[in-house]
């Protein structure tokens, strides 16, 4: 059902946890299943220096959370905004069709966190 890579990320997820005093926080819920993801980012010179997630969700949700955080770390804010759920799923060697929606959590979480960061930047 799940690819090896999904299982690896699920069992040993990267970047889970919380950042104290983050520069941006995204809190998103999945409308399909009700699952929830929080994402915290630390930004320096427009570059994402640190990212952490907390996820209440299925295996796919956790694996995509992990993969998505790995994909954006070290990227500029603009680059990070371009990450799509499809890209995350592909990086995980795909997801079962019924589980594609789970990867939306990660995409939207990142977007929400960056939005939050940008809002805070405005004077």
């Amino acid at each position: 059902m799940y690819s090896e890579k999904v299982m690896q990320h699920f069992k040993n997820p990267a970047n889970w946890g919380k950042i104290e005093n983050p520069d941006g926080v995204g809190k998103v819920g999945n409308p399909v299943c009700g699952d929830v993801m929080y994402i915290y980012i630390k930004v320096e010179n427009n570059i994402i220096k640190d990212v952490k997630f907390e996820t209440f969700g299925c295996v796919a949700a956790i694996a995509t959370s992990s993969m998505a955080t790995e994909l954006i770390i070290g990227k500029t804010v603009e680059e990070a905004l371009k990450i799509t759920n499809k890209a995350v799923a592909e990086a995980l060697d795909g997801l079962p069709p019924v589980k594609m929606h789970c990867s939306l959590l990660a995409e939207e979480g990142i977007k929400a966190a960056i939005e939050d960061y940008m809002k805070k930047q405005k004077p």
Binding site: F10, G34, M37, T55, C58, V59, A61, I62, H101
Partner: protein
Amino acid sequence: MINNIIYLDNNATTPLDERVLAAMMPYLSERYGNPSSIYSFSQKIKMEIEDARDKVKDIINADEKDKLIFTGGGSESDNLAIKGIAFANMNKGKHIITSSIEHHAVLNTCKYLEKFHGFEITYLPVDEGGIIDIDFLNKSIREDTILITVMYANNETGVIQPIEDIGSIAREKGVVFHTDAVQVAGKLTIDVKKLNVDLLTMSAHKFYGPKGVGALYVKKGTKIHPLIHGGGHEMGLRAGTENTAGIIGLSHAFELSYENIEQEQLREKKMRDRLEKEILNKIPDVIVNGNKDKRLPNTLNVIFKYVEGESILMLLDSEGICVSSGSACTSGSLEPSHVLLAMGRPHELAHGSIRFSFGRFNKEEDVDKVVKVLPGIVKRMRDMSPFGRGKDEFWKT
């Protein structure tokens, strides 16, 4: 069993008992005749099928004239019962009563009749413990009610329904009554006379028999259409060359299950109860689902608040422990368990249940192993979750 897995998903399916396989083997090799052929090679097989039928009928206390139809499984038996009664009696009425916690084989059959064949369905609610509302049933019966179908015990929670009471009401009002006893056959004694049922479903692979064979008990005089038309097999109620090995296997497995049923019930109950106690002791924020006094002795359904069931299931899997989250055939789907929702659990909790179901081949050590790894797994997933103690209060119970 040869695997070194800890199999705690016996409500999903059970291992085929070696003794059952041994009984089946001749029919998978030299006794290959088609039971409908009239030469002696085949007629002997035919007689053995009839013996197998009589054995099962005896165990459930069926009358000699009652029918026991061998089918391709529990789902087919449910479909045969419900569509068979519905189509044969639609001139009398098109109203069916079922419950909101049925297996999908019943639920989706009812929904199909509702959507495409003009039937009206009443779905009985259940209480917090998962037991159907008898008053509601009483009030729901109408002039045009032609069938009541309520499961004997629920596959997810193990909660046992008041079938005898439902049976008396149905009989009194003259409504045909079917029960899906897939989770009860082989686990509790069944007496169709005492239960007042007209139709009863069972499935061999839930009691250490083979997959792909089931049975439907049909009380004599019940007006029913076949689901599978064709040759005159199974008293004209189920066409198709008989699955001889499967039928012999079902019958033998059923017999074996009742050989020392009380002892086995106690043995499994003891393991189940210990697991329940240990979980409640070692893990905070746990909810046990289902009325504890009316539960199959082998089933434990728990919610670990703040985390999803699938994640726990998969981490248990990496430890070689097989359990389920929701019912097997709905996993892969996204909906939270309709059974837990019907019991009033909020959506997020319903999404997070784990079912442990014990069976003949489990040992006390299996409990030890689960108790050893489960607290850590739950803690790990909770740490990863944005909710829980000292975190956001996302829901309240």
